[in-house]
Amino acid sequence: MRKVFTNGILRENPVLRLVLGTCPTLAVTTMAVNGLGMGIAATVVLVCSNAVISLLRNIIPDRVRIPAFITIIAGFVTIVQLLVKAYAPAIDEALGIYLPLIVVNCIILARAEMFASKNPVLPSILDGLGMGIGFTAALLLMGSIRELLGAGTLFGMEVTAQFLDPMVVFILPPGGFFVFGMLIALVNRLTADKSKIKQEFSCMGCEGCPSSGSCSARAQVQTGGEEK
């Protein structure tokens, strides 16, 4: 049970090890507080959808499970969207379009497909919580690095702005790609001897992709170049 929970935080960190959910990771991490807000919002959706999908796992017919999952997830995203709008309008403003886009965050659909649809409720909730915390931690780390280097502040408080000119490029889009690349390189370096490094980004991360089973593109995209 404990392993289920800690799995998502370190060993299978969704962002840094499985490389899922890259869009929000790059887009909202211009400030630490935004990363935290996004992480918490996604965690709430992840835990709730995992719980409900796990409860319904024997009722949902296999053939229509993906649309069913998407509907459940979209329902919770709408709830979170309304709550954030009501109680944290500043976060809503900062996250903007990326808040409704939690619906298409691969992490949530991947956990629904890979874990919640096969396991009882309690482990599913723990799995969602662990993955959510892993996601939040990665976003917080990215946000802190970018805010510190790009604006010289951390959670809005001045840190290095006094004696170091902020490098604005880090809060611009290129900085996002760069910091993310360096973080993954660091994780690869630290875990180099423990095998199983994610070397290549297979199409959307097939192993986590819910449609990989039925996906005809899987084999063809990978071999597409060689066929000619």
Binding site: G181, I184, A192, C203, M204, S216, A217
Partner: protein, 200 residues
């Protein structure tokens, strides 16, 4: 004139991949070869245009008049998922050559955040600017799709070169790809202010 400004800014200034971070997964996933990059982005362009053509009237004629705006996320994602399925079936039956070219990428597009993103952004734009109508929304979607294609094609070219380079072990694969993406994104920053410069 306004339409041209929207088109240019969607392609270059507010590039979906490089400055809005939408559709990063396919951007990193299928940009290894030029032909797959073109196929994928053509499919995205196609679905973006159709999705906007369908979701815009739904928002304006059904959700807004009945005060159902909060259902936007659920309705849009289901409409897009159904639409992708429908387009795939229709193409298979009526336009086999196009299906041969785009078919394999279509199932991947449902969970592509760029498609849902463009439909929601269009509605947001309309809320902020009353003159932003259906024509503007369509042009914006097509521009976003073209921008996606441009980013993927440029990046596929870079990655083909990258493969023959000698890179330190821990940077191989994804990290060096992201650093390359960072540099491409940096070059797109140069377009900042372009639209205001031409049309302003």
């Amino acid at each position: 004139m306004k339409l041209l400004a929207i088109l240019l800014s969607a392609i270059l200034v507010d590039n979906f991949v490089l400055s809005k971070f939408l559709g990063i997964c396919p951007f990193l996933g299928v940009s290894k070869r030029l032909n797959t990059a073109v196929g994928m982005s053509a499919a995205v362009l196609f679905v973006m245009a159709i999705a906007t053509a369908v979701t815009w009237p739904i928002q304006k004629c059904i959700l807004d008049p009945f005060g159902l705006g909060y259902l936007q996320t659920i309705v849009f994602i289901l409409v897009i998922a159904g639409l992708v399925q429908l387009v795939e079936t229709a193409l298979k039956k009526f336009v086999p050559p196009l299906y041969q070219a785009l078919g394999i990428y279509l199932p991947l597009i449902t969970t592509n955040c760029a498609v849902l993103g463009v439909t929601i952004l269009n509605i947001d734009n309309a809320a902020a600017d009353a003159t932003f109508g259906f024509a503007e929304a369509m042009v914006n979607s097509i521009g976003a799709g073209l921008g996606f294609m441009l980013a993927l094609v440029i990046f596929a070219g870079i990655r083909e070169k990258l493969e023959t380079c000698d890179i330190p072990q821990f940077l191989k694969g994804l990290p060096i790809t992201l650093v390359a993406a960072s540099i491409v994104s940096l070059s797109f920053l140069g377009f900042q202010g372009l639209v205001e410069g031409i049309f302003g």
